[in-house]
């Protein structure tokens, strides 16, 4: 999980009551803090408003306030169905189809040689065709096919030998030619599917796994970016116009809201893993439209057919959902709206609806009568795209392992938990997994120096060790100079501020008891700090420098240490039979040992020996 920015955190914690100026200068119930309060509510999805618990000046400690608030929230929560339990309705069946738009990872635009950039100076990468100069002609850039075909293969689609481009006409200022070039009649990939597992977060009603069909994937152009400024001014950045997108259209085979969200999330992970897509959903590189319809489970079948699936109810389309949560929430809200409407004798209209983040219901954008007739027409400038089998074979070969395959490998062969495996795969665009592999390989290599090493027997232990360090130990590192988003600087190829070799050495030293766990963490922090400062270093030199090599304490040392912590009252209790109190003393011993050299077992033995000495 990405670190939460302090500003957000401040709103989130303590009901937004911490003023930026610090606790001492607290202003009583300023209007601003009231605004924070509502923001907090949104963050928690608490939809019932309640008076702020600290609206009146009171001496109640913060901690109590928090507890009270949590308690009340729990109490309120009992009246509300949680999202997890709101997936299935007894009498109604929900049907959802999704269209996902993703920006392809290419250097050029779809139909011009202008380069694709994300954050360059506006209107600096624009060809004549991009702004629809009269007389300019499109020029298909074949390299845009590479990420598109990769995406199609990763989603198990059949790449068509021949595909064509069509014009979709609509008017908007961000569309200079008055039409978007897309693939309507003959898309380049068809008939795929995507498998979702329980660990992907599908609704529990869908069981362990579910397969959702993909009707087609088509390539199309992006529009210009509108930058809105105060005073009803809209600036247009044509750098984005004409960038290649793919639109992934699923069959209407999804019946639970969280499965829909899981599908969108999974598509993003898959596209990332094959390097087809530029940005994640949260950054705007991925957008989803959902089609929602409901029908009674017992009653007669609906009279509508979408993508060959018959008997469905009238559907509505919710456009432009930009987060996974929005997908799920919007579907639930739209489902409930449709059911309410049918129950009250109304009829669902085929219409386009919108959803605002944090909203409670979908909003009608335009009805059937206002529906745009896109007047699809084969583009008369562009010939068909013919994709040779050899290209597809070649790209298939270079596709690499898909996330599902990797998770399967990690859990079955390397003994990681599904949760850890998922985390490894999803962090840093897969870079965390790459890093893990590097560390794992380096540790294994170091272990082979030991003649007793048995790869098959030890690999799971090594994996768990490595996973622990790669996920949890280095995940907890902080530094004031570190990048907020990615403090470890892990790239998608697995580069990291702490080199895999250094971490592997550290794990190995620890495993061979050459340093203690406490020292290891210290060394790790040092490696991190030096890494950020840009100073080259090695694990062994750090250990050397800090003098952290583990030298076992002599039994005299142990006894001395033990005697120094002895408390006669406790000793008597122990002697009276409260054996557990030994651990209390042991803890004291451990705390006294700043270097972490105390071996608990030896220390316990020393303690017991001394205490036994008092038994007379």
């Amino acid at each position: 999980m990405a670190p939460i920015a302090p500003r957000v955190l401040r709103r989130y914690l303590l009901g937004g009551r911490i003023p930026a100026g610090g606790c001492l200068n607290r202003v009583k119930t300023s209007p601003q803090s009231a605004a924070f309060s509502s923001a907090t509510k949104r963050y928690h999805e608490a939809q019932i408003s309640h008076p702020s618990p600290i609206a009146e000046p009171s001496p109640i400690p913060f901690r109590k306030q928090l507890k009270d608030e949590a308690k009340r929230r729990r109490a309120e929560g009992t009246n509300k169905v949680s999202k997890q339990d709101n997936q299935k309705l007894e009498d109604w069946e929900l049907t959802v189809g999704i269209e996902i738009h993703a920006q392809l990872n290419t250097t050029r635009k779809l139909f011009s040689g202008a380069s694709s950039t994300i954050n360059d100076v506006p209107n600096t990468h624009v060809a004549l065709f991009d702004v629809a100069m009269p007389g300019s002609l499109p020029k298909f850039q074949p390299e845009t096919l590479i990420p598109a075909i990769r995406a199609a293969l990763a989603l198990d689609c059949t790449v068509q030998r021949k595909s064509k481009f069509d014009r979709k006409h609509y008017f908007h200022w961000d569309q200079p030619s008055g039409y978007q070039i897309t693939q309507y009649y003959e898309p380049f990939a068809k008939d795929g599917h995507i498998k979702l597992y329980a660990h992907d977060g599908i609704a529990k009603e869908d069981g362990e796994e579910i397969t959702i069909g993909i009707k087609q994937i088509q390539m199309e152009q992006d529009t210009a970016k509108t930058i809105s400024e105060p005073g009803d001014i809209h600036l247009l950045d044509f750098n984005r116009v004409g960038l290649p997108l793919i639109e992934i259209i699923t069959l209407p085979e999804i019946h639970h809201p969280s499965t829909a969200a899981a599908l969108v999330r999974k598509v993003q992970i898959i596209l990332d893993s094959v390097d087809a897509c530029v940005l994640g959903m949260q950054s705007g590189g991925l957008r989803a439209d959902v089609n929602v319809s409901v029908r009674r489970r017992d009653g007669s079948e609906g009279g509508h057919e979408y993508a060959g699936v018959k008997g469905l109810g009238q559907r509505t389309e919710i456009k432009n959902l930009s987060s996974f949560k929005a997908v799920e929430d919007a579907i639930i809200a739209e489902r409930d709206r449709q059911i309410e409407l049918i129950k009250s004798g109304g009829v669902i209209e085929g219409e386009t609806r919108g959803w605002t983040i944090g909203g409670t219901g979908t909003k009608r954008l335009r009805g059937k009568e206002g529906e745009v007739d896109y007047r699809y027409m084969p583009d008369p400038d562009l010939g068909p795209v013919l994709i040779d089998q050899t290209v597809i074979r070649r790209l298939k070969k270079g596709l690499g392992r898909l996330p599902d395959e990797v998770i399967n490998l990690l859990t079955t062969r390397f003994g990681l938990t599904v949760k850890d495996a998922m985390t490894l795969v999803s962090l840093n665009d897969g870079g965390r997994y790459e890093y893990f592999c590097d560390v794992h390989a380096a540790v294994t290599l170091l272990k082979t120096e030991d003649p007793r090493f048995d790869f098959e027997a030890d690999k799971e232990i090594i994996s768990r060790q490595c996973a622990n360090w790669v996920l949890h130990e280095i995940g907890g590192l902080t530094h004031h100079l570190a990048d907020e988003e990615n403090p470890l600087g892990i790239t998608s190829t697995g580069e990291c501020i702490i080199s895999a070799d250094n971490l592997a050495l550290l794990i190995n030293y620890l495993d061979k008891k050459q340093i203690t766990a406490r020292s290891a963490k210290k060394v790790l922090q040092e490696l991190f700090a030096k890494g950020i400062a840009g100073q080259p270093t090695t694990t062994s030199s750090e250990i050397e420098e800090a003098g952290l090599w583990f030298t076992p304490l002599s039994s005299d040392n142990y006894e001395g240490l033990a005697r120094s912590v002895l408390d006669m009252k406790v000793v008597e209790e122990i002697l009276a039979g409260k054996e557990g109190k030994v651990n209390f003393l042991l803890g004291k011993m451990m705390r006294k040992d700043a270097d972490g050299r105390v071996d608990p077992q030896v220390a316990t033995a020393a303690l017991k020996r001394i205490i036994e000495g008092y038994r007379k």
């Binding site: 004549l128 702004v131 629809a132 100069m133 009269p134 007389g135 300019s136 002609l137 499109p138 020029k139 298909f140 074949p142 064509k164 014009r167 006409h169 008017f171 200022w173 200079p176 030619s177 008055g178 039409y179 206002g370 007739d373 896109y374 007047r375 699809y376 027409m377 084969p378 008369p380 400038d381 562009l382 010939g383 068909p384 795209v385 013919l386």
Partner: protein
């Protein structure tokens, strides 16, 4: 047509004409040169006329007028539209660059119908082009008239459904439309992309040829609809096979010392083009042209292009559909203006932004938007695409040269229209070129044009549209009606110009062939003009019926396409030739093993020659020669075929369906151009 506002703007604009060419003879901003009454140019550079006085210059500059929908980086490009009246393109069209590279000078931008939509060059924001009191033809009327006015050596136009050939016919000049995909469309503001072709207007075929060669000298990689060099090489191979075949055929005839090449050339005469509406003079000129060609050894073959009657309707669905899409960009955001200050006033969703378009453009945008709408597309646009395929197929059936854009195909005779006359029981005759009139009438008077309904206007394109739909090269040659021949050809219809356009159509990529025969035809016309009444020609009878010359009688006696000339010597040769031809196996056709029943008969358009033959006894022998699928001419990404046809369908003859049912019955067609057949 001339709204007071348009008139004002046009006047204002005329005074803004500028001198811009860098190699211009005079660098001062001269006032507008007198442009004559034809209103042929929208903007121009002046001072060329002074250049001749410069003693140091030996050769006069070659001046070119360019239609105003081809962008130039120095002169404005308006498309004769109010919306683009001040549009200065930031780049230059590929063809314009090619002309300048040659050292030729673009002297002006020619007036036209707004965005190329029209047949008389009257739909211009800058006023109609005038050919005296007659129509100059459209939409490249300005290009034609600037040539007629002597302002340039040749003119560049664009031809979507006849926009170069029709003005050429009406104005008495040569107008050549090359095969679609040869000349780059980069910088040509599109009307209907799948039909738009850059064309040349000139006083002679040779001049047109020179200009065409200059623009076709290199392949434009930036135009996706331009044929790539590889495709050109392949198509060149197909053409070579065909021309070798023609040469071989020509050797069978007599070596006529003066023009040997025409000996053995087969000229197709499309019977469906002989429509009732064909003006008498036009029919006469057509007939006379044919007879001239026959006299020099050409073989006249009646051919059938049964889907011609649907071509015009299909064109007026496809072109407006593409136009409505292309013009979508003139939406008031980047081009055009907003009439009302605020957006979406009242119940209207959009601002009023497209009022700058002329009526014809608005009409076609509406038409195109309708035929593309989800309710209508199946009945109109898709049907029209199918018709387009049928029209292409008609031509492929008829031409002896294979269409280089297609793999060799077998045609099922059962799929052919019943009206198609068969050469033998094995299939129809095949020809090298088709000759027909360019327009069914002489140029109408401008005031007549203004009284016409839009549909009447569209009718002028009936003979030019089929070649456009099929992407074929076609040329219009002026057939001058000399005053001396007046006694044979008294005027019975309106029209004052002294020439009629004769159109020569060739197979795809046979541009050189078309230009070649046009040159010879042009020479023939000149010769005939000097020689008075041509030999072997018909004579005009005031009663209105025609006395067909012996050559035509013979033609009908030899319906299989082996006519005999009038000249007894030639006649003998022809008979000999026919006899040789008849003895040779008809080669191209074969019968399936199920027997020679018509419904099973197949014939092959492309080449697999000499694999089949009729044995001495007359029974059919030989085995079926299936072309190996995809071996020849593997289609690839730059393949044009699908561009030309737009839609991949298995077309059958019932594809036309209900599209034309609203038009009330079949168009009237009347067999061969010589009308009623004499008793044999």
């Amino acid at each position: 047509m001339w709204s007071p506002r348009a008139k004002r703007v046009a006047e204002a604009f005329r005074h803004r004409r500028r001198i811009v060419c860098t190699n211009r003879p005079s660098s001062s901003l001269a006032s507008r040169a007198p442009l004559g009454s034809s209103n042929a140019l929208i903007s121009s550079t002046t001072g060329w006329e002074n250049r001749g006085e410069d003693a140091s210059e030996n050769t006069p500059p070659i001046l070119v007028a360019v239609k105003d929908n081809i962008v130039t980086s120095d002169l404005l490009t308006t498309c004769a539209s109010a919306l683009l009246q001040n549009y200065q393109s930031p780049y230059e069209a590929f063809v314009a660059t090619k002309l300048c590279e040659k050292g030729w000078n673009i002297m002006g931008k020619a007036n036209m119908d707004e965005f190329g939509m029209g047949s008389h060059s009257t739909n211009s924001f800058f006023g109609a082009v005038r050919n005296g009191e007659y129509s100059a033809g459209g939409s490249s009327g300005g290009s034609a008239m600037s040539l007629v006015d002597g302002q340039c050596s040749f003119a560049i136009g664009t031809d979507t459904g006849g926009s170069v050939r029709l003005p050429a016919a009406y104005s008495g000049v040569v107008g050549f439309k090359p095969s679609y995909g040869l000349l780059s469309r980069t910088g040509v503001i599109p009307y209907a992309n799948s039909l738009d072709t850059v064309g040349v207007l000139a006083h002679s075929v040779e001049a047109a040829h020179t200009a065409f060669r200059a623009m076709n000298s290199t392949v434009d990689d930036n135009d996706p609809s331009t044929l790539s060099q590889e495709s050109r090489n392949r198509a060149g191979q197909v053409r070579k096979t065909a021309s070798d075949d023609l040469k071989k055929r020509a050797q069978h005839g007599v070596k006529n010392e003066t023009r040997p090449i025409l000996q053995g050339v087969r000229i197709g005469v499309p019977t469906e083009y002989n429509i009732i509406e064909l003006q008498h003079e036009v029919r006469v000129a057509w007939r006379r042209s044919l007879s001239m060609l026959q006299d020099v050894g050409c073989t006249l073959v009646p051919v059938s292009l049964p889907n011609t009657k649907h071509a015009l309707s299909a064109y007026y669905i496809l072109a407006p559909a593409e136009a409505s899409s292309n013009l979508a960009k003139y939406d008031g955001v980047r081009y055009g203006s907003r009439e009302q200050p605020s957006d979406g006033v009242g119940d209207v969703l959009y601002s009023k932004t497209r009022d700058g378009f002329g009526d014809e453009v608005k009409r076609r945008i509406l038409l195109g938007s309708y035929t593309l709408s989800s309710k209508a597309i199946d009945n109109y646009f898709i049907k029209a695409q199918k018709v387009r395929r049928l029209v292409q197929r008609d031509f492929n059936h008829v031409f002896s040269m294979a269409n280089p854009l297609q793999n060799p195909k077998h045609f099922d005779l059962a799929d052919m229209d019943e009206s198609v006359q068969l050469d033998s029981k094995l299939g129809p005759a095949q020809v090298d070129f088709i000759i027909c009139p360019t327009a069914p009438t002489l140029p109408p008077k401008l005031d007549q044009v203004l009284d016409q309904t839009p549909v009447d206007n569209y009718m002028n394109d009936v003979f030019t549209v089929p070649a456009s739909l099929a992407g074929l090269p076609a040329i219009s040659i002026p057939f001058k009606i000399s005053s001396s021949s007046e006694r044979y050809e008294p005027r019975v219809s309106a029209g004052s110009t002294s020439s009629i356009g004769i159109q020569i159509i060739g197979q795809y990529y046979d541009d050189e062939g078309v230009l070649g025969i046009s040159r010879l035809f042009e020479a023939l016309l000149k010769e005939q003009k000097g020689a008075g009444t041509p030999k072997g020609c018909w004579h005009w009878h005031p009663k209105g019926s025609c006395d067909l010359g012996p050559s035509f009688t013979d033609l009908h006696r030899n319906i299989k396409g082996h006519p005999v000339g009038e000249d007894p010597e030639l006649q003998k040769t022809h008979l000999r030739y026919v006899a040789t031809e008849m003895r040779k196996p008809p080669i191209k056709y074969f019968v399936t093993k199920n027997g020679p029943r018509k419904s099973y008969l197949k014939y092959v358009v492309p080449k697999p020659r000499a694999k089949f033959f009729v044995s001495e006894k007359g029974s059919l022998a030989g085995k079926r020669d299936e072309p190996e699928p995809n071996k020849k001419l593997e289609l690839d990404g730059d393949d044009l075929f699908s561009l030309l046809s737009g839609w991949d369908y298995n077309v059958r003859k019932d594809a036309v369906g209900s599209l034309y049912s609203s038009q009330g019955g079949k168009p009237k067609t009347g067999g061969l151009p010589w009308g009623r057949l004499p008793p044999a």
